[in-house]
């Protein structure tokens, strides 16, 4: 029979060394008796044989962190369980991947409890400031963990609170961080820590961040069990908060709405009259935009046409030629639009033409810039500009060509072919939907092209009729 007594500091390492030696010497689990230092546990019949020297053994990689964690568990049987599992593991290393195995499931459960305990320790330790002589501020805390988690958790505090001295006392062990050095010492009974003024502020915060209309006590206690409450300064407020919550919520509901304070009307009025932007400001802003290029986008192209136009025609975005000219609708699409407008009896020069998105978006392929459809964020980005143009012109009708314009103005892109030719009421005023000239240009055969072109002409004629009325 071998007897191994493990120290309270550095337990995990000590267990690992002992287990290595025992395993290398082929000592079976039933021949080992594990004990903790100072635990007062004795087996009268056990022969006090020291563990054999460490030898080389191999274990699956995933066993190491599992053993590390389980060693910090409070259960006295943990070392024996770990060693028994390690013994089985020698014959079948695949056992580590078997989540259905009962003893592995048990160890995993213990690992989880230790992890949770360590995590709660990082959460619920509360430092209080104590007087210090040196240049560093000093803090101390008292904490009662369920498992032996101070040692594995202390480095977290050392990295976090590197510029102050601190100590954490627990019944079994204490950690001290002074001048950048971390050391462990004996445990202590609860020290008498002075009141900290910050605790009152923290209590105020805790009371006020709570919303009495959504009381969920169970959700709180499952994450912050009552066993921790006695060392949490904020917990003293909990009973009162729970007791008064319902009454406070009812009081809010019962109170009649009050009259707004006098300044409210004044502030809102000023806010609502400030928004309008002039053409000059808009042009200046556009110029400003043009000073900053954006990768994958062309320059900023504003709309063009009379500022008192009755009709605004909105396309998708500038194309390659528009980008070079800095003017909207001058490329193939623009030319097609001109011809179609003429055929429909609409004077295109009397309309304000612009695009939903103001920059040409492209992808470079060799020397060519290939058109990319604007995405939602491009659209949202450009909406402000189109809104200002519409606001300044206040047209009778807006003609939206293609999906992007439709999405910007009506909020919906889908179903243009069905929706074209109809007027939809929007926050911008009436919007007549139609096809984009580039759609016509893309049609595969002459028949389809003529058909689509006839649709566009019909819509342009409809627009002419509506603005004339």
């Amino acid at each position: 029979m071998h007897r191994v007594t493990l120290p309270a500091i550095g337990t995990a390492t000590a267990w690992r060394d002992a287990a290595r030696g025992l395993l290398a010497a082929g000592v079976p689990p039933e021949a080992v008796l594990w004990a903790e230092e100072g635990a007062g546990q004795s087996d009268l019949f056990a022969a006090d044989a020291p563990p054999p020297p460490a030898g080389a053994i191999t274990v699956p990689k995933s066993f190491v962190p599992l053993a590390q964690s389980v060693c910090w568990h409070a259960e006295p049987e943990r070392f024996a369980r770990l060693y028994a599992f390690l013994w089985r593991l020698q014959g079948s290393p695949r056992l580590m991947a078997d989540r259905g195995d009962e003893s592995l499931a048990q160890l995993r459960q213990m690992e989880k409890q230790v992890r949770r305990c360590a995590h709660k320790m990082t959460a619920f330790v509360r430092f209080r400031e104590i007087e210090g002589g040196g240049p560093r501020r000093r803090f101390a805390a008292w904490f009662e963990p369920t498992h032996h988690t101070l040692e594995p958790t202390a480095p977290h505090f050392a990295k976090r609170f590197a510029d102050m001295d601190w100590a954490i006392f627990t019944p079994a062990l204490s950690a001290h961080f002074e001048g950048g050095e971390l050391r462990f010492a004996e445990g202590a009974p609860r020290p008498d820590l002075p009141e900290d003024a910050a605790d009152a502020l923290w209590g105020t915060y805790f009371r006020n961040i709570f919303n009495p209309a959504r009381l969920k006590v169970k959700a709180m206690t499952s994450e912050m069990p009552k066993k921790y409450w006695k060392n949490l300064p904020e917990a003293r407020h909990i009973p009162e908060l729970i007791a008064t919550a319902e009454a406070r919520a009812a009081e809010m509901a019962a109170k009649a709405p009050t009259l707004p304070p006098a300044r409210a009307a004044r502030i809102l009025q000023r806010l609502h009259t400030e928004e309008k932007v002039s053409w000059e400001e808009l042009a200046a802003k556009a110029e400003e935009e043009n000073r900053h290029g954006r990768e994958g986008y062309g320059r900023f192209v504003m709309g063009e046409g009379p500022h008192d136009a009755r009709l605004i025609i909105v396309g998708e975005q500038p194309g390659d030629m528009e980008d070079e000219a800095g003017r909207p609708f001058v490329g193939p699409s623009g030319q097609l639009l001109d011809k179609a407008a003429e055929a429909a009896g609409l004077n295109r020069r009397e309309a304000y033409v612009t695009n939903a998105v103001k920059r040409f978006k492209f992808e470079r392929r060799g020397k060519r810039r290939i058109h990319q459809s604007p995405d939602r964020s491009d659209i949202e980005h450009a909406r402000w500009w189109l809104s200002r143009e519409i606001e300044l012109i206040r047209p009778r009708l807006i003609l939206a060509l293609g999906g992007t314009a439709a999405e910007t103005l009506t909020g919906q892109r889908a179903g243009i072919l069905k929706r074209r030719g109809h007027v939809e009421e929007t926050e911008y005023g009436p919007v007549l939907l139609s096809l984009h000239p580039s759609y016509i240009l893309r049609q595969p055969d002459a028949g389809a092209q003529a058909e689509a072109r006839a649709d566009l002409e019909a819509d342009l004629a409809e627009a002419a009729r509506r603005i004339a009325a």
Binding site: A97, G100, T122, R126, A158, L201, K255, P260, S377
Partner: protein, 407 residues
Amino acid sequence: MTLQDKLEILSDAARYDASCASSSTTRRDSSKGGIGSTTGSGICHAYAPDGRCISLLKILMTNFCIYDCAYCVNRVSSNVPRARFTPEEVVTLTLEFYRRNYIEGLFLSSGIIQSPDKTMSDMVQIARTLREREGFKGYIHLKTIPDAAPELIEEAGRHADRLSINVEMPTDQSVRQYAPEKKPETIRGAMGDVKRHERAAKDRTHKGRKAPAFAPAGQSTQMIIGADAANDATILGQSSRLYGDYRLRRVYYSAFSPIPDSTAKLPLIKPPLIREHRLYQADWLMRFYGFEVGEITAAQADGNLDLTIDPKLAWALANRHRFPVDVQRAEKELLLRVPGFGTKSVDRILTTRRHRRLRYEDLRRMGANLKSAKAFITLTDWSPGGLTDAANLRARFAPPAEQLSLF
């Protein structure tokens, strides 16, 4: 007014923001100077009796506001007491709370004072002071003011771990109705800006250096539910667009809850907490379980989620022809759709079944909820028999109807 008084008013005003996450940012610590650190999954330092985690010092810089959003306790037309922190006060509170291990960092929001730019630049100043003067390595979450200048948003992103801009309501129409000074398009424009900066920060400079980090924990948003008439299908549709278009880390749903000094425009109701819970569950299904919005909301005709059972179970009950699933052979996608199986238990099933046949008891040890799952699975030693198609299957999960009082 003392610091205590201000803290009372300005934390009270901040409690309606649901987010308190301090996770998924870059790992930092103060071993090379300064104070503070971040961990991978964040730490909840306390829980309030509303069940919500308190991870960050969540306060408003000021609750003075020139906007008049009907659902908000701080709107200009409300008579709540007002206060304003100086930037130094916020810095001191954050650090003193941090040193006592009360918090992971700061979540700073604000009412709009004077102008959006002025408000935002004050907030950025606080973040800058914490980072540059105090060497603070903890977590900072800044609420972004949508109308603020792009340079300010850029600087905010350099100091903060997370930026958020609230979309406020599920539909544009509701935003216009209840928050007349806010523009849905400006809000989305600002979210687009943040996304662009985030992406730019991933590129390297022409010299191959890393670009300065920009909000490493990404951006999130929040919408209030139950104040307008939008159904769950609309809400989830909006979230799934937001996740896709702006790469949001999280969309938070906040059940509209009564506020002190409320306006006559909104109904004072008990906050729809169960609905909020179901929406979070559905949100999870979309992000981690491969569900589409349409599938989740198709179970009920009105486009709302079933309040009595969770959305995954509701989907399974409505699609029983796809069950039972053979746990030994089924693909991962299908296993993820079994009620009672989480992502973790599915991973455990996958690793273990490579080596041997699974039994019913194994699943219990792997953490599966068999009460929910047993009707939908088959195993070597388990078959649900007629249970999968039983007419009363739903009733086994739904809580018994409450007996109403006769008098």
